[in-house]
Subunit: 622 residues, 2 copies
């Protein structure tokens, strides 16, 4: 095998893929190098041309982001709040998509002539014998029947519409990790019961409500003759799952800026973050049972079981990984902030990849990894690294987010096989609205029966309104666009995302004032006032005590020394396991914690065997 030149050799003279004003230079220079016929020595030149094109395409995205940033700055500078940066990124993406789609016609070139030859099978790799020389081809996918002649027209657009794997392996992890890492844990855990209810039960309700409504619409469309292909009940459920994932980005940025009531913030944030995880697990469970067609009965029980198992496995796995990172950063690595930051970054990413490689859900893993890291590892980092990691993930999150949203705008025009079906779209909007309502209102009613501080109607209306669909919905729907059903779902999803981000996102500020939601709340003050009330449910109080008295001292340098919290008989062990720093630094946060949860301190539980081993190991390394 004499090659590794896996560069794409689609050497088409790049007649102006770039019409942005910045890129006029590219245009002038880029159109000079004609690929020409593919003779023996010309591959190098074609490869160079292809490299130049790749750079130009990447440049388009960078320019889009730059433009977005400049406009965001202008908006922030002028305190203009009706259009959030993500909505803006989408608009720019749309514009560039229009230009690429309609502004440019790539001329046909010799090197792209397409030959058809009939073989019986579609292997992943194909060898083609061209007058004695062998060329290797790899499978790209199936092409719609009778559309073969269109392939070369769409080369450029296809290059811009890139691999969905990039979303899942590169762009999503930093966003989700950042969500976990910057989570205000106190508020989150205070409302954990309600958040879990909205995220788990609510998403499942929403998924099934949307699925059923869509099944009704699709059946109707079949009767009317508006349906151009197969659309099973599982497809409807799949659609329900992907559009049930609400997006934490847009609304929460506004909430953060306006300092909205912390409980509402925590509820919405917690719901939309966990939501994503639930939607992924749900949709992949549905896909796993897809081949059975519309046989929906055997699916339900199994999928639920599987989802539950996966979720538990992922949770414990990522928790364990987070703990391992905590132990690693226990060491004197803190003398080298660069190494520490790099390690922190790699460990977080590897959590994601490990989970994906194991067949778990990376998003769930990386979310809980973020929370764990913020809770334990963060305390072990040097102050320099604490800043660095925060800033790094803030930046990565910002870039990835804006990239995804501008890409969304772009795909509306660059994607090749949109199926816009008016009936389906209307149905989807109705279903999404009803699904959200079926999630929020009944659950809030039930939750209010048990909650001391009730979720008011104004809160419920805002939660209903603020259920934007964003990055995760998009990523899930672009992942597979092979069949008619999936294409229709993708196109509809795109419209739902646009609508919710622009209309609901833009209307959040007026909505808040209309619903008279308190803004400008100082979260710390608010917190100090409320945290004395023992509002958490009792299982969480027990966990807090255990965590504060045993886990934190064992895994971090902060917290009370184990010698104070363990019973006297474990004295020598406790001394051996406690970090020397723990005796020195009575931190304010721990002090607060102590005040709140002193009640459980008498419970003299011993540390788990697992924790012990880890702790001893880390002390030995130290």
């Amino acid at each position: 095998m004499g090659f590794t030149r896996s560069r794409f050799l689609g050497g088409k003279p790049s007649k102006a893929p770039l019409l942005l004003p910045f890129l006029l230079t590219v245009l002038l220079v880029g159109s000079q190098g004609d690929g020409g016929a593919m003779d023996n020595g010309a591959t190098e030149r074609i490869a160079e041309e292809s490299h130049r094109q790749d750079s130009a395409y990447l440049l388009i995205f960078i320019m889009l982001l730059t433009l977005t940033i400049l406009t965001i700055w202008l908006f922030k500078h002028r305190r203009f709040r009706f259009l959030h940066e993500t909505g803006l990124a989408m608009i720019y993406g749309l514009l560039v998509g229009v230009i690429l789609r309609f502004g440019i016609h790539a001329p046909q070139s010799m090197s792209d002539v397409i030959l058809s030859c009939a073989v019986n099978g579609s292997p992943a790799t194909l060898l083609v014998n061209v007058s004695g020389r062998f060329y290797e081809y790899t499978l790209k996918g199936e092409v719609g029947q009778g559309k073969g002649h269109q392939v070369q027209d769409d080369e450029m657009l296809r290059k811009v519409t890139f691999d969905p794997e990039v979303f899942f392996n590169i762009l999503l992890p930093p966003i989700i990790f950042h969500a976990g890492y910057s989570l205000k844990r106190r508020h989150f855990f205070r409302n954990i019961g309600s958040i879990l209810a909205y995220a788990f039960i609510g998403t499942v309700i929403s998924c099934f409500v949307i699925g059923l409504i869509m099944y009704g619409f699709v059946s109707f469309m079949k009767v009317v003759g508006q349906l151009g292909g197969d659309f099973y009940f599982t497809d409807c459920l799949f659609f329900g799952a992907i559009v049930s994932a609400t997006d934490p980005v847009t609304v929460l940025a506004i909430f953060n800026e306006l300092k909205v009531d912390v409980d509402l913030y925590a509820l919405l944030f917690g719901e939309s973050v966990l939501n994503d995880a639930v939607a992924i697990v749900l949709s992949s469970s549905i896909v796993a049972y897809q081949p059975a067609g519309d046989n929906s009965h055997s699916f339900e029980a199994m999928a639920m079981l599987k989802s539950f198992g996966v979720f538990l496995g992922v949770f414990s796995g990522s928790f364990a990984l987070g703990v391992v990172t905590g132990v690693v950063t226990f060491t004197k690595l803190r003398d080298f902030p660069l190494l520490e930051t790099a390690l922190f970054f790699l460990m977080s990413w590897s959590t994601f990849l490990l989970a994906e490689a194991c067949g778990f859900t990376g998003v769930v893993a990386v979310l809980f990894c973020g929370i764990t890291q913020a809770h334990y590892t963060y305390n072990n980092l040097s102050p320099d690294s604490q800043d660095r990691t925060k800033q790094l993930f803030e930046l990565l999150n910002f870039l990835a987010e804006n990239f995804i949203f501008s890409y969304m705008g772009l795909t509306l025009f660059s994607f090749q096989s949109h199926v816009f079906n008016p009936l389906f779209i209307v149905g989807a909007f109705v279903a999404v609205f009803l699904g959200r309502a079926a999630n929020i209102y009944p659950l809030s009613f039930l939750l209010n029966l048990g909650r001391k501080n009730k979720i008011g109607y104004n809160f419920q209306h805002v939660m209903m309104f603020a259920g934007l669909r964003g990055a995760m919905t998009f990523a899930l729907s672009i992942r597979d666009t092979a069949t008619y059903a999936r294409q229709m779902m993708f196109s509809t999803t795109l419209l739902i995302v646009f609508f919710t981000v622009w209309i609901c996102g833009g209307g959040t500020t007026p909505m808040l004032s209309f619903m008279s939601i308190p803004v400008g709340v100082d979260s710390d003050q608010d917190n100090a006032r409320r945290s004395t009330k023992h509002e958490s449910a009792w299982p969480f109080r027990i966990w807090y005590n255990f965590d504060h008295n045993y886990l934190k001292p064992l895994l971090t340098h902060s917290g009370p020394p184990l010698t104070a919290t363990l019973p006297a008989c474990c004295g020598p062990l406790a001394r051996c396991l406690t970090s020397p720093q723990a005796y020195e630094e009575p931190k304010f946060a721990n002090f607060c914690f102590n005040n709140v949860y002193r009640g459980g301190q008498e419970t003299g539980t011993t540390v788990s065997a697992y924790g012990l081993v880890l702790g001893i190991l880390s002390k030995l390394i130290d």
Copy 2:
């Protein structure tokens, strides 16, 4: 065209691609999901399996990096200096390569059966008709004759050996930018004459010396019958160009740690950074004239001209881009450090991409962009962003560097078509040694005729010894491995890199003490002592004055106000163009600068029309 599923559908059951201890879990889970035959509904499962594999491969690299970081920390902690982190990364890469190569045998699977069909041409896209369904294939490259049967065995190894584009578009830019951004400009510019001589004349000398010696060896090999394919004179020159690029990473990390004499540091650093740029331009010029075979006469003059033109174009282009960035950050963006950092990052990267898209050399552009950004833009950034950008590029540089080096180790075993020819390898080592000597010693002799502070013999020996080959040599050689000549070059280059990084890199510390080079020099003190001497050549002094009196005040918030430096007649214009901050902040650096270059202050040149327009624009925005 009914798809965008461009994921690679090579669904092979992943029988244990991972033998690292960490990954046992992956191994157990990953081997369960068998791809099975490619029936209609199974593509989803195959795609999922492929996604799982991709994650696992990425995970291998992340784990390699993690392992490297931990060992680096151990080394730093124990003050062990004989093996640098890059050498270490290579060793780990080697080990994993061995495991992947010999430890794992992927079983054959139905979905990889390879079919040959004869067509007359090798188009970039191929449509295959399989019982009425069309599948699209893309060209991957040419396969060596008679090696067709090996293709499926190497699937896994090929997946690990990924696209060279990634090196050029993703991994190299941060390394080179960081080199420019963290450049100690004062020391660099003081020795600019010598650095340019070594980098330009020296690299060309080295390239031709190595090329000629290799041509001798190759001719000898042809006579002896040791040569298995074509090897033209241009191939020899190409080899000379790529192995002439010395690597700034390894040696300079050691120099930095030991605080070696600043002049030696500046010489070596400047040479090896500019070196890379020259080697790229040289090698691409040679490739451009490659088809003419061994007709070397027409090549020389043209290539030189072209290289010179490209270099000038790139320099002015990247300078202009850097200035534009400076103007942009002029605005009140400094109130939003996140936006500022993101913009800074994107502008730097887009410089690279823009240059590549224009057919220039991105590395050169991004290097000078880094220098310009550090000189102008850095002064306009908010203090928060100054820290952020420094730390960000430090981290990116660190990760990219270690990734490249561990990847180098990996390719020694994972690359499929190595050609190790003992005679060629011996010849290459001799040629590289002689080429380096022909660069350093004669040039140093000539330079010493003009220099006030001579380059001593001990300096020359260290420069000779410290000419490591690293990332750039590797990236250039892996870029095209289609022909026999290129494969032999790639394998040999790999060995040269290993040898120089381990032996020369490891021997730097002993070498320094053996040559009695002063270490532990405080660069600032040393600088203050020398900067009063007017050591720079006169064209640079004029430039300094112009820069300090006009460009800096025009483009940044620092420097003396233009009202003081421009002649009185330009008064109103000067007031309009000077930033209000310039009047307020008499900075220490400017004060020093003023002392040194006061001589030129009388020269009352007016600012260029270009600068005026930019400046006015920026004031209007401000």
